[in-house]
């Protein structure tokens, strides 16, 4: 993982938490979420504490990290994540993130994070207009993201399942993402290279599969690490997307 930036290491959390304790993850449940249970199970499987947070809740007190799960919040009508972004809980999530609290969103959670402007850019319809569910190969980039427990350059695989995973942003944003080391994961070929014309199954700009905010505490990715954590089909590589932040929390670094 990339060296932690000074800014995030010294981030002040909104509420004080005891060091060295089991990190407590809050998993937000929006109407229409459908991966919240999977996330809770995956986190508990690794040994962390995880509780649901109802979308109407306005407080995140007591949580060390927040998960925005996958699914189709509010049916993903209008635009995915657009309606969920106005759930009462999102004000608290934004405050939590602004104060340096760790937030991860996968799939629909990523879409909600962009709609809430906690992450730049937007996720639009897959290039081929089809929903895509399959295992994809990913390269871990040298980023400031605090969440990932894998060395830059590592090639791993995770399942994706989305209709709108085509990451897009304007040129200036892309330049900033690159300069600030905010690209966390890219779609790639099995050997770690990027194919001519791109390796993203969904047409994502610059093969982007996951990004973080400048501070590194907010992380959004289209793939589903929670689906390959408890070994159900022989895979456990998803855990690496939760363990780094948990260790930081245990050390009392974040929150």
């Amino acid at each position: 993982m990339a060296a932690t930036s000074a800014a995030t290491a010294t981030a002040v959390a909104p509420s004080v938490s005891v060091t060295t304790r089991r990190p407590r993850f809050g998993v937000v449940s929006f109407p229409g979420s459908n991966c919240e249970q999977d996330a809770v199970n995956a986190l508990r499987f690794i040994g962390y504490s995880a509780e649901f947070v109802w979308h109407r809740s306005t407080s995140l007190d007591g949580f060390d990290a927040i998960v925005l799960p996958g699914g189709f919040s509010y049916g993903d009508y209008l635009r995915c994540g657009a309606i969920a972004r106005f759930s009462p809980v999102m004000e608290a999530v934004i405050a939590f993130a602004d104060a340096g609290g760790p937030v991860i969103g996968f799939c629909n959670g990523f879409q909600v994070l962009t709609e809430a402007h906690l992450l730049p850019g937007c996720l639009i319809r897959n290039e081929n207009l089809h929903f895509i569910c399959k295992s994809v190969v990913l390269r871990v980039e040298d980023s400031t993201c605090e969440w990932v427990d894998l060395a830059p350059g590592t090639v791993t695989s995770l399942p994706v399942a989305h209709n709108e995973g085509n990451y897009t942003c304007d040129e200036a944003t892309l330049a900033r993402l690159r300069a600030n080391h905010q690209v966390v994961l890219r779609y790639c070929e099995p050997d770690g290279s990027t194919a001519l014309g791109g390796s993203a199954p969904n047409g994502a700009t610059d093969d982007i599969a996951g990004i973080c905010n400048e501070a590194g505490n907010v992380f959004g990715l289209m793939p589903h690490p929670e689906r390959v954590t408890d070994g159900v089909n022989g895979q456990t590589q998803g855990a690496a997307f939760f363990t780094a932040i948990a260790r930081r929390i245990e050390r009392g670094v974040a929150r």
Binding site: Y74, G75, Y77, L78, I83, F86
Partner: protein, 80 residues
Amino acid sequence: MKRYEIFVTGKEGIFDPAGEQSKRALANLGYQGIDELTIGKLIRLDVEDDVTEETVREMCRKLLANPVIEDFSITLLEEA
């Protein structure tokens, strides 16, 4: 070159869940006085001058709209 604007909207009586949920969301945001909200498509088609409205209509029937559940209307804008 000319531009056609095509409005594709749900047929009368066809349920529009996206409109319904968006309406609810606006109400939850505190907006009042909304009676109805429907979501359709706006297609902008820039074509060579020799593409007639009749051809565009055919494109709509064949591909751009779903005649079973959608109506469409076509407007010619002056210049693309």
